[in-house]
Symmetry: C2
Amino acid sequence: MTIYNFAAGPAMMPAPVIKQIQDELPSLHGSGMSILEVSHRGQDFEKIIEDAEADLRELMAIPDDYAVLFMQGGGTGQFAAAPMNLARQFKRIAVLDSGQWAARADAEARRLGFTSDVLASTKTDRYTTLPALPEPLPQDQYDYVHICVNNTIEGTMFRQLPATETTPLVGDMSSNILAQRYNVRDFGMIFAGAQKNLGPAGVTVVIVRRDLLGDAKHVPSAFDYQLFDAKHSLYNTPPVFAIYAVGLVLKWLKEQGGVDEMQRRNEAKSQLLYDYLDQSRLFFNPVKPADRSITNVPFMTGDADLDAAVVTAATAHGLLNLKGHRSVGGLRASLYNAMPLAGAEALVDFLNDFEKHH
Amino acid sequence: MTIYNFAAGPAMMPAPVIKQIQDELPSLHGSGMSILEVSHRGQDFEKIIEDAEADLRELMAIPDDYAVLFMQGGGTGQFAAAPMNLARQFKRIAVLDSGQWAARADAEARRLGFTSDVLASTKTDRYTTLPALPEPLPQDQYDYVHICVNNTIEGTMFRQLPATETTPLVGDMSSNILAQRYNVRDFGMIFAGAQKNLGPAGVTVVIVRRDLLGDAKHVPSAFDYQLFDAKHSLYNTPPVFAIYAVGLVLKWLKEQGGVDEMQRRNEAKSQLLYDYLDQSRLFFNPVKPADRSITNVPFMTGDADLDAAVVTAATAHGLLNLKGHRSVGGLRASLYNAMPLAGAEALVDFLNDFEKHH
C-alpha cells in the first residue's frame, strides 16, 4: 500500500532526499563520520550551509541586500525575534489577523512589551476570507506590518500582498515558502519554519533586508539577526542535521524545476481537490475561492462523527493525517512540494468512492 | 582504518544508535513515514518524547519537583533564558568565571539588562584552575549563581560544587551531562546542549526546580520554562528528529550501565591520556590535576607548528578533530560517552609513537 502523508507539518519530505540521508548517514562524503557527528566548523559542513544559502537565494531570487539566516525556535521564536530586532523605532507593529498564527504573532509582540494593532481581522468570518489592509496605511507609525502569507489551519493564502508603502512587510511564510512564487523585495523580512516545505523540524529560515537591522537592545543572542548575519549563522552551534536536510531538499527542488514548477504542481494538486469538493454533495471547503491556499485544504461534511469516520477509513487506505486542526474540525489535506500529484489523485479517488458508498 | 572523532561538539555518537537511525529512517515503527516526517502531535512521537524524559529522569535521578524540558537554541539560548526566567526578584546573578563559556553567560545576562557579578575568575591563570566561591556567599542578593560545570575549551571540571546555601545554583552541563554523576538536587537549574553527550545538535535539555518558576515578564515563548513545562515541551513544533536521536542515546546509555558506568569509563579513558601526557617529554596538559575534566583534555608541545604537525599526522591515522580551540591552541581530545576506550588507547599509542620518532 502506498502511503501518503497529508500532515500539516512536520510533513512529507521528498523520497529521494530521505533515501540520500539514509545512504550517507554512517559516513558523510566518505569522512567516516555521520552528519550527526561532524563539527559545524569543519569543511564539510561549511560547504553544506554555504550551498544551502546559495540554493535558497537562487530559488527565491533573494537580492544581495537581504541576509539569509538559519536559526532555531520555529515560527514561535520569530514571533518574538521579529519585533525584538525590527520594532526599534516606534516599538509598534501592525498585524493583519488572518487566522490563529497571525493572532499568535500579535499576542507574542504584546507579551514582549510592544504595541501591536490589529488593523483588520476576518475572525468573525471564521477566517474563511483574508483581511484587507485599510488604505492608505498611516506611514511612520509602525515598524512593520505582519501577515501570515499562508494560513495552514484555515486554508487561505495571500496572492496579492497588502500595499504597505514604505512600511516594511513581514511575512510568515512557514507553510508556502518555495511552494508559491513571491517577490522577496515586497517584504522587509520573511521567515519560515522548515517542517512544511523545507525539511525536518528544527531549523528556521529568516530572510531580512539588511538596512532594517540595527543595534537592537535586549535581544537574546540566539535571536539576534545582525549577529547571525555577521557570523553567517554560525555564532553558536547550529542545528547541523536539519540544515543539511534542508540543503538536500533545496537541491531536489532545483532539479524539479524550482519554485515556478512547484507552484504549477501545487495549483494542479489543489485544483483537483477543490474541483472535487466544489461539486461534492457530501464534502465542502468553506474558503472563499479567491483566497484559497494551494498547500492546505480544509474540508468537511458538516457532521463531526462522519468526518471522523472519513479520517479512519482514509487511514486504512494509507491516506494519513487528514484530521483537521482541532479549532476548525473536519479534515485537512496539506499538499506541500513533496506531495506528488498521485497523492492528491488518490485522495480524490478515495473521497469520491466514500461519497458514492455513503 | 578505524576512525575516531575527538571533536568537542558536535561529537561522536554511539555507533549502534547511528545504525538504528539509519535502519528505521524510511519508516518509523512500520508507519510508512520517516521520523523526519511524523507529526509532533502523533502517537509515535508522543511515546518518543515521553520515553526520553522518563529515561533522562531515571539516568540522572531527577526528582519529581524538577521539570525536564526539551528546547531549542543551545547553551547560547539558555544564557538568555536562564536570567529571563529565573532572575525575577533581584535581577542580579553571580557568575564563577571558569572559562569562555562562563564568561559568555555573564555577558549575555548583562546584554539583556540584568546585573551580573563575577565573584571569582581564574582568567589570569589562563583558566587552568577552577575559581572558588568567596564564602560565605551573601544571601538574598542573587537570583542564582551560574557555573559552567565542565569547561570544554579549557579542560576543567567541577567535582565539588560551590556551596551557595539557599541561593540556587545554575549549571551549564553541556559537556559532561551523563558523563559524570551529579546530584540534581544540588542545582536549581541544569542545562545542556545535546551535541556532546546527548545526541546531535539541535535540542537543548533544561532541568529546573519548579518552585523557581513564576510569572516571568517579557520572555519569548520559545524560551519560557513555565510554558514549556505546562505544554510538555510541545507548545510549538519541537526539533522532532533531534529528540528522537537523544531518546535512542539515552536507551543506549541505560544498556551500557548508566551514568556511574559512563563516569567509570570516562575516568579510565582520560586517566590513560593524562598518565601518558604527565610522563611525556614532548606533550603536556596545563590543567591543575584536581580540576581536570574527564571529557575534554587539552594538551600541547609548546610549539604551535609542531602541534599542527601532530594534528596532521593524527588525521592521517584516522584520529580526527584533535585541533585545540583557537583561544587555547595546541590539541584537544574530547572523550565523551560515545568514545570507546579503544579510541583513547589509539590516541595514546599514536602520541607515544610520534614522540619516539620526533
